[in-house]
Amino acid sequence: MQLTPKRFFDFCASHVPLLHAIATKPGDVSEAQVRQIIRTFSDTAQEQPETTWQRLLELQVIVPLEEGSSHYVMSQPLLHLLNFLYNDALPTSPEIIQGYIAALESARKRIAAGVESGDALSVAMAGNEIDHTLRRMQDDLDATHRAVMAEVARYKADRSSVSVRERYQRILGLMDQYVHPLVEIVRVDGLLESTLDETDLVLRAAREQGVYVELAMVERNERQIRVLRRRAIHTLNESRKELQPLYDVLRRSSAIAHGATLALGRLRQMRLEDWVAHYTTQTTNARIEVPPTDEVLRAIIDDVISHPPIAPPVLNTTESAETPPDYVRLLWLNALPDMIHEDLPVKDLTSWLTSNFPEKGTADALLGLSKLLFDPKLDVSFKGGRMKSYRTRDGQLEAGTIAITKATPAAK
């Protein structure tokens, strides 16, 4: 018999509970199960169960799993329609979205090649494919969002005795399998965004170079890309926002339940004193009869022994206009490596220091010498030989010859 839309929709309209019952059955259903559902959900006064069964088959509401099989599934287009009507959706896996991205990428390449060779037909075909893929992506992302919302609503309303751990595992599954990977794909610097950018570019090229005359299609694709870009990130972030609080609460609840079970389980395996020490939260009983406690006395004695009193520092409270000499010395020391750089190689470092800075005292000269000796960029070597004397402003230094041959580019 010819399958006409009117007959199909008339039947559906008068058998909504039956269709919903079949749609919500997981997996396939046997003929006996379908007949049982018919008896439960159909009005037998209006229509005989056998007639309902025949019409289910004629209208292809249910189709056999394979030819001749007595197990049936609801036909896919009708299942989609029912999911849409009942706002029920299955989340889309990241693998599916990645498949779409691959399809977009392939179509993009064909458009690019078509634009280059002026082949309007291949541009048109690839453009159609992009249109189709974008629509499906949008539908699937929306479905993921709806599925997550529905799951969250179910958890909030569900007071059945599903254990906390099981609830947590289910939410964890949704987060880990769908939301987190999808957010990774659709985020601003993610795979989807770059593919959409590149697809947008080839569509513009197709339009601007006049290879493809049907501009409405190109414009529609561009519009869809803009919409998808906005909505993909938005819907998935919204899903994550819905799930996150539930995830956090259930994660803590699950850990609390797990901890309590572990503690109870070990009650019989340990000495009670040890168990109390490990698994209870103690407060301190203060023995009022003997304050302060030994612990406090020990701490105080320790403090006295290890921290003898020291005089407080005397601060100089008079202000002077001069630059502090320590600061001047620090500037000089910091500038030394640059200054010696101009004179490299230096055969006798102490001589270089004392002759260039005769105004410096022995202490400053030694500081300068240390600064240069330990500078990681300078290649210093001790030549040995006899000791030499060097004059400073206020004394004399005796040292062997120290040479700096070159400066290495990086620290060793």
């Binding site: 803590r252 609390i256 309590a260 009670l272 020490a277 407060t283 203060a286 612990e295 701490a299």
Partner: protein, 192 residues
């Protein structure tokens, strides 16, 4: 002479190992108002006054100087762990449920299954009278609020137990993670 308000009452309450919660109105208000001063006052006595994130107070010292824990601690802990486990098995939101519900002794799960009965027996609680005594002792410590009709509700210090459970669970998971790699037998060249 010290000027901190309610000092004697606060000390008397805390030194028994009890908690000060919102239920102890004026005492709680006094510490909450000037926590640092009370903490600094008790510190030289070796008493660490702790303010929990959920806004209740207790004394806690890491080294309890060999003082054995209160005898009621083990039965109280077992009682609470059973409550938590039972709530989780029923799929209830644990924290919300345990801290908002009013429980009756008759409705408690502790004496209803052999496993829970065995746990309670291990801490010398055999029957409803034992449970009643235990709940009353929890009320003295600030864990619960007991009503004469044999009902009670749990108070904020219960959060410490939730934290403890979480700590136990995390420690167990860490332990498991540390143990797992060693389960893989190293390759023995002699076997080839």
């Amino acid at each position: 002479m010290n000027t901190l308000p309610q000092l004697k009452d606060i000390f008397d309450k805390l030194r028994q190992g009890a908690y000060i919660t919102h239920e102890q109105g004026p005492m709680h208000a006094a510490i909450a108002e000037d926590y640092e001063s009370y903490r600094d006052y008790f510190a030289p006595l070796g008493l660490n006054l702790v303010r929990h994130a959920r806004d209740f107070f207790y004394f806690h010292t890491e080294t309890a100087e060999g003082t054995p824990p209160a005898a009621s601690l083990a039965p109280m802990a077992v009682f609470c762990f059973i409550l938590i486990e039972a709530a989780a098995n029923e799929g209830r939101p644990i924290e919300e449920y345990l801290l908002s519900e009013r429980f009756t002794l008759a409705g408690l799960p502790h004496l209803k299954s052999d496993r829970y009965k065995a746990h309670m027996r291990a801490v010398d609680v055999e029957d409803e009278a034992g449970l009643r005594k235990l709940v009353k002792s929890m009320a003295t410590k600030g864990w619960a609020e007991y009503a004469p009709d044999d009902s009670f509700r749990l108070l904020r210090p219960f959060h410490r137990l939730f934290d403890k459970c979480q700590e136990i669970s995390e420690a167990a998971e860490r332990e498991q993670r540390d143990v797992l790699p060693s389960l893989t037998a190293p390759i023995d060249p002699e076997m080839n």
